[in-house]
Symmetry: none
Amino acid sequence: MNSSAKQPHSVSMDRRVVRTRRALQHAFLKLVAEKGYDAVSIQDICKAADVGRSTFYLHFTGKEHLKRSGLEHLRRELEAHRQRQADANVSCEALEFSRPMFEHAKDHLHIYRALAGSSGGGVALSTIRDILTDQLRKDLSITQVTSTVEREFRLQFLLGAFMSVLTWWLDAGAKGDPAEIDQAFKALALPGLSQAKPISLPSRPGSA
Amino acid sequence: MNSSAKQPHSVSMDRRVVRTRRALQHAFLKLVAEKGYDAVSIQDICKAADVGRSTFYLHFTGKEHLKRSGLEHLRRELEAHRQRQADANVSCEALEFSRPMFEHAKDHLHIYRALAGSSGGGVALSTIRDILTDQLRKDLSITQVTSTVEREFRLQFLLGAFMSVLTWWLDAGAKGDPAEIDQAFKALALPGLSQAKPISLPSRPGSA
Amino acid sequence: MNSSAKQPHSVSMDRRVVRTRRALQHAFLKLVAEKGYDAVSIQDICKAADVGRSTFYLHFTGKEHLKRSGLEHLRRELEAHRQRQADANVSCEALEFSRPMFEHAKDHLHIYRALAGSSGGGVALSTIRDILTDQLRKDLSITQVTSTVEREFRLQFLLGAFMSVLTWWLDAGAKGDPAEIDQAFKALALPGLSQAKPISLPSRPGSA
Amino acid sequence: MNSSAKQPHSVSMDRRVVRTRRALQHAFLKLVAEKGYDAVSIQDICKAADVGRSTFYLHFTGKEHLKRSGLEHLRRELEAHRQRQADANVSCEALEFSRPMFEHAKDHLHIYRALAGSSGGGVALSTIRDILTDQLRKDLSITQVTSTVEREFRLQFLLGAFMSVLTWWLDAGAKGDPAEIDQAFKALALPGLSQAKPISLPSRPGSA
DNA sequence: TCCTAAGCGAGACGGTACGTCTTGTCTTCCA
DNA sequence: TGGAAGACAAGACGTACCGTCTCGCTTAGGA
């Protein structure tokens, strides 16, 4: 009963279990936001959630697992959100990934600030980045860029820039309409991308 | 005797001290590259450096201190490198920070891969980022951008993109001439920057 | 429903209950014989008996209770056996307790080896000893020994010797006729007892 | 540095180590006397000795080890005591083991009561028994008894009786001269032994 | 050249946290 | 609706590090 994926969320799951997990996840977010991921011990979480430490291990294998359980939830939400966006908005311009992300972040500000803001140490940044990587890769594959290296290079550039901007925006309170920040981001990013000139790069920089 | 700054480097410093510190720093880099920063315990470092654990605490207050001591060294080197570059090359184009950085990274590849590569978990990324922030801020302050917010936004964008590209390049082995990757980076970054249109942003997104 | 004494054995007792208890007691004996009393956890017993752990607590208050429940059964059997012997055999020589005990042990060898043999750690030795103490006390009270202290001293001597011999005999497989070992035991014990000389002992060594 | 046997007792051993071990052993005895061996947790011992729990594990592998360390000490002492007795008293009558034992027990009453008395649950009884077994075996081997089985049988009888008497005597406060109780013990034991008649026993009751 | 101050190793020590295990109670769910 | 399943709190276990400390030995660098 350890995996959060085992039970499709509250389908015939003991109500105590639901209660306990929610308490743990909530306490986790709170503490991470306060002290940063590394400084939060499992004991802290249990104390904050008012849950016995052994009970913690009935549900999660460790701090890492608890974190991932939350992120998995996030991923599913984001994926759904993106899908809805894509369905509604046909005018699929380039860099489709950024807008839904900003919107979703604003909608779940408290979570994102804990997991992606500078408080909390950006625990989940790499996970979010992975999620976005998938999407962006698709976006770029349909462009005119032929070289794999060139494509990967642009991927890194865009994602780095985006994650940085996202974190900054979250830290600042995510004020304003997500559309605004998205527009600003694209204003900086697109001109460079549209440059046809495929800069020469070492033919095979590696795969790591 | 704890601070590395106390002694102006090898001026009348006991040779044993030098030996010990070097051994510790070397072991630290090796282990971080192998297992990642968090997974390296002080005990590991001492064992690898063949240094008594209590001796460690004669020189450093903890793992964090040891890391910073190495980065301080790096910072000074980088600063010097930048200065030399600036003196020699008068054609100060924009985004002056990137080129020296790529070069310095390639020159000290083994250190950078341990501290900034994905192995090692990017321990020093934030420190490097801080170093670059100072420089980039100066670069941007002389541009036409007036709004503080707009400037900060561009800063985040550029640094994020740069750090991402740098890490990627390092992970791939830092093949090719630093000038090449620098050129590629600027090709993506500059067009967006030169856009005069200062995108409207929430007047005061924050200060963090 | 906890006490085994509550129901006078199979008088209108739910057959499922009987089944469950028997399963637990059986598993208990098996495991004690295998690993010794202390090393057997309630979890082990339940697993071996294929009974839910909470069910265990419906019938017994703990491991100790389970053990006693078995011994109570034993005590009743032993008492009955003794009575039968006494009725049949009128030639009540001294040390009447030993013979029925050896016989009963041989008759229920598997139980005795688990509870009194060196495997199992002699869990029940003290209980058996208590049972025998009652009987022996009566035997001794009719002898010529007057001093309470002297009587107690002889009690301890005899019981200690008997329990030790019994355990040894059980560990060795309880081979041979119980009458033989009983005869041997008495041959060592009786001469000393028949000595009339009441050795001087500190008038009141205590009461424990 | 875990074994108490490694260092011949305070020969160049860190005084802190001596202090800590003594504190632990002392606390152990006290608690065992109070609550019985099983009910004493390592945490209790550490708290009572005012020693960090991790420090405990620097010296002992567990409760068992701590117990044995004390008994090892006891064994050496007893052996020495026996030797002294044997040297002084040439009139080596039979059953030489009992007298020194009673004397030693009286000399170290507080230890014996904790480890062998009924309070404390007779933690060390089996160990003491083992020690005595060696000695008694020698005593019996020089008697006229030829059969191995017969000899083993007498061994069990005597040891059982002796341990029982010893425990009883300790529980009662070990009042009186050790010589008195020893004399009483021998008065019960010797007549049976001197009986020449080697009772028939199953030729080979086993070896366990 | 010596000898004195330091660097150093070894490791004892009290802590904190870990992940595991067992116990006895209490609650949910299902047949 | 009563009993089985199992969630739960409590707390001990043995391990791993941490940071502090004391102890002697070695050794470098100034007298």
